[in-house]
């Protein structure tokens, strides 16, 4: 799926995920929690399609259930005792707390899965390159080196097998002997080839004074708009947290703060944050569709 949010400037992507993950860890209020999980779930399905649905069903759901079961077994606080399990009281509060913690875990994991999809290695490298330029080149070189090394290892392994040096069969000593041989030649290989890479780098002026760091990312006007909106929403939600508008107490009795106008505003702000990527995508899909329709119309008029 083509994700619009991923095409925004990496710094916005990064701040966004930091925000939703941190907020997700601290807010336990049921309405907020529901918003977060629906937002995160929709976005992860939007990004990964079928794969995400499968992952959520196989891994996330059992984990949530597990956490909700384990908590009441060890946590016996709370006033409303439902029954006794091996002489231990099982309370309603701890069950609810367990369920909520389970959902919170799921939210964090979902956001991380979205983060993985959106924050590709170049974006990460770019952000860190801004802080330490030399580091971004090293990252980039390492990312080039690792797959090459793996590939060469496979080639050497097969070539050695073809001359009767097979690591997968034979006595332990033989296998050790061949394994060490391959390991040592891989080291030689990396060093030897890096000489030519170094030649290629120096030949293209590496080591001259005043190296700059190029990136394909640009902070354009839509980035400005989105970042202003995002920061305003974040301020609203954080001040809401500080005012205790979305607090919830589980023990000894479950108690949430009263619904006020401010809490509604904070909720809307949180909703907008959680659904920001989806909203941006929806806007784009809508515009594209509208344009296409009007385009079709034009063509049909033209055809007549």
């Amino acid at each position: 799926m083509n994700d619009t949010f991923g095409t925004y400037h990496p710094i916005i992507n990064f701040i966004y995920f930091c925000t939703v993950i941190l907020l997700g860890m601290f807010i336990m209020h049921p309405i907020f929690l529901c918003t977060a999980i629906i937002g995160a779930f929709t976005y992860s399905v939007f990004l990964n399609g079928k794969k995400a649905v499968r992952f959520n069903l196989i891994f996330l759901l059992p984990m949530m259930v597990l956490v909700s079961i384990i908590n009441p077994l060890f946590n016996h606080r709370g006033m409303t005792i439902l029954f006794y399990f091996r002489d231990n009281p099982i309370t309603m509060e701890s069950i609810v707390y367990g369920i909520f913690t389970g959902i919170m875990f799921a939210v964090i994991i979902l956001w991380f899965s979205c983060y993985n999809e959106v924050m590709t290695s170049d974006k990460f490298i770019y952000l860190f390159g801004k802080i330490i330029p030399a580091l971004s080149l090293i990252f980039s070189m390492v990312l080039r080196f690792i797959p090459r090394f793996k590939e060469q290892l496979k080639i050497v392994y097969n070539a050695q097998k073809c001359i009767g040096r097979d690591i997968s069969s034979g006595t332990f000593l033989e296998r050790m002997y061949y394994g060490i041989k391959i390991f040592s030649i891989m080291i030689t290989w990396s060093l030897e080839n890096s000489i030519e890479t170094a030649d290629s780098m120096r030949s293209r002026g590496y080591g001259l004074r005043g190296r700059t760091s190029f990136s394909i990312y640009r902070f354009d006007s839509r980035d400005t708009v989105v970042s202003v909106v995002l920061i305003m929403l974040i301020i609203l939600v954080i001040s809401g947290i500080l005012l205790g508008e979305n607090s919830i107490i589980f023990f000894p009795l479950i108690k949430t703060s009263h619904i006020t106008i401010i809490s509604v505003i904070v909720f809307i702000a949180y909703f907008l944050i959680c659904f920001l990527p989806i909203i941006l995508n929806m806007i784009e899909i809508y515009i594209l569709k509208r344009n296409k329709k009007s385009g079709d119309l034009d063509v049909s008029v033209y055809n007549k």
Binding site: D122, R144, C162, I185, S200, G205, L208, F214
Partner: protein
């Protein structure tokens, strides 16, 4: 204005008495396309590397090299980095970063350009080279040809005045190689960049170049236009002549004979052909209004093998790497008889290498049978297959080496090998066998060197030595002539012939049509996971119209069944001599 002026330049490597370069005098003018050729080890690379200070090898030098009239050593590094572009042999090693766009920007970053300028320059270069479609890709997804093109584009982004290329296509398949050389030509004609290139694919590069320089033992022996240079080479009877394009070789061989006066006058009027097209015209002119005495050569059929059993028999074999991937080998059936040199040719990615891996048992088909010496291949133990039956030379010969020197590497293969009585071989006998092989492959001088320090062709030979020490009955060679120069190819063919006489079966997978045509017993064309046709090289290549030798392409409008240079020359002489 001359880009480079080289005056009396001498160079010796440390701890080495012989001159690597001797009395080199060369003037390279702006906008020229210069091809440097010569046997491997003749000093081509040493010369090229001396043209850029950061790449110049350590050693003793005398004489001077001027870059736009200034001594090269005095030209600042910054200017050299951007103005002298240098493309190396190995496409993979030159790439520094993991993304195509980052690689394009690398040089410009080093030179300290701002983001705006870099953006413009790489956009320009990406469009010029047609890279825009894979601009955002990861480097590991590219093919070898694309990688080398990327290296070239990354250097061109720095807007060099002169582009130096050291055998840039030696690691590429023929089609990507031609693409790459076309791009070089385009750079030369459209941007006016001076090109200095060393190449062994002279068929493609000579017609493009303005000047050809032939080197031998560190000296420049010829410096002339391609036509004149090849004529001179022919006159000198220099071994380098064998590397020249087919039409030149045919021309030189044919005019060497005594002919009637009328014919001689005609020959003097006609110019030496370089391309296949010129070769065709030349032949047409020579045989204009002449009645041919012999038009076609007698060709041998595949000998019927009624009594002999095939040593390898593949029947209805299917293979794919993964369940969700497409089939690589589709319903392959083939037979190879003992003592045969069986050549498999075909384009990239048609499954040739995979077919080899199936024969050797590295990969296992999901349908069909492979019978080796009358026994199903999956009934063998891996040890049996690779100790005595198969010798496999992989595409990348480097992957066979595991030791510090070639000698140790060759000895290593005999580690724990037994003689006929089942005893471990004594060291002395091992050394004898190593020396024997080294002698056969002419690598005695290289025995004490690190295998990674050898050139491509030398590595190929040393690796072959390792494989031969296993005494295989069936030899599987994947692109054995890659990186070999033409003289060694001949020797290599002789080595193979000796093995064939000992009833060793050899299967070659190759892009080298000329080699297969000259030496193969049978040729098969691989396409889309299957063998399309199999025949003797003569029949095979004279039947194809595109996938055939240059000799056939240049002469087929006049002669029939012609495959090699020798054939064309023979027919020409037969028809012309009184």
């Amino acid at each position: 204005m001359s880009v480079f002026i080289i005056n009396n330049f001498n160079f010796t490597y440390p701890l080495n008495e012989a001159f690597a370069l001797r009395d080199v005098n060369l003037t390279i003018d702006d906008g020229q396309f210069i091809t440097i050729c010569g046997k491997s080890g003749c000093g081509k690379t040493t010369l090229l590397r001396n043209l850029k200070s950061v790449l110049a090898p350590h050693g003793e030098k005398s004489g001077e090299i001027l870059f736009y009239g200034r001594p090269l050593a005095e030209v600042e590094q910054r200017q050299q980095a951007s103005k002298i572009g240098y493309v190396l042999q190995n496409p993979d090693n030159q790439i520094v970063t993991d993304k195509v766009w980052h690689e394009l920007a690398f040089g410009l970053e080093s030179l300290g350009y701002d983001t705006k300028t870099i953006r413009l320059r790489i956009a320009e270069m990406a469009s010029f080279f047609g890279i825009q479609n894979w601009f955002m890709k990861n480097v590991k997804e590219l093919s070898g040809g694309q990688k080398q093109l990327l290296n070239l584009a990354a250097i061109m982004a720095m807007q060099p005045d002169v582009l130096i290329l050291d055998e840039p296509t030696s690691q590429l398949d023929p089609i990507s190689a031609v693409d790459f050389l076309e791009t070089i030509k385009k750079i030369n004609t459209q941007l006016g960049t001076t090109i200095i290139i060393t190449e062994h694919r002279l068929e493609e590069v000579l017609p493009m170049s303005d000047r050809t320089i032939v080197m031998d033992k560190g000296e420049i022996i010829i410096d002339d236009t391609p036509k004149a240079a090849s004529e001179k080479l022919a006159k000198m009877n220099h071994p380098m002549f064998l590397a020249m394009p087919t039409p030149i070789q045919v021309y030189a061989d044919v005019i060497n004979e005594e002919y009637s006066v009328a014919d001689s006058i005609k020959f003097n009027k006609l110019k030496c052909p370089i391309t296949v097209k010129e070769g065709r015209n030349w032949l047409s002119n020579v045989f204009e209004d002449k009645i041919l005495k012999i038009k076609a050569l007698e060709k041998s059929e595949i000998k019927p093998h009624e009594k002999i059993k095939p040593v390898i028999k593949i029947k209805d074999v299917w293979f794919k790497y993964d369940k969700n991937e497409p089939d690589v080998i589709k319903d392959l059936t083939m037979e190879v008889f003992p003592g045969q040199l069986y050549c498999i040719v075909g384009g990239n990615g048609t499954g040739k290498t995979t077919a080899l891996s199936l024969i050797s048992g590295i990969n296992i088909p999901y349908r069909g049978k492979i019978i080796i010496k009358g026994k199903n291949s999956n009934q063998y133990k891996i040890k049996e297959l690779f100790k005595g039956i198969f010798g496999v030379l992989p595409q990348n010969p480097q992957s066979l080496f595991v030791e510090k020197t070639v000698r140790l590497d060759l000895l290593e293969i005999l580690h724990k090998s037994k003689n006929d009585e089942g005893e471990y071989l004594p060291l002395k006998e091992k050394e004898e066998r190593v020396n024997e092989i080294a002698d056969l492959l002419e690598i005695e001088d290289l025995l004490e060197m690190h295998p990674y320090d050898l050139s491509g062709g030398e590595q190929q030979r040393a690796a072959l030595g390792k494989v031969l020490l296993l005494d295989p009955e069936i030899l599987l060679l994947d692109e054995p002539t890659k990186g070999m120069d033409n003289f060694f190819k001949q020797k290599f063919a002789l080595i193979l012939k000796k093995l064939l006489e000992k009833n060793v079966t050899i299967i070659i997978v190759s892009h080298d049509i000329e080699f297969c045509a000259k030496y193969g017993d049978q040729c098969s064309l691989f396409f889309n996971g299957n063998i399309i046709t199999t025949n003797t090289p003569d029949k095979f290549f004279s039947g194809n119209s595109f996938y055939t030798t240059a000799a056939n392409r240049m002469s087929r409008h006049i002669f029939k069944n012609v495959v090699t240079i020798k054939d064309v020359v023979y027919l020409c002489k037969e028809n012309l001599v009184k």
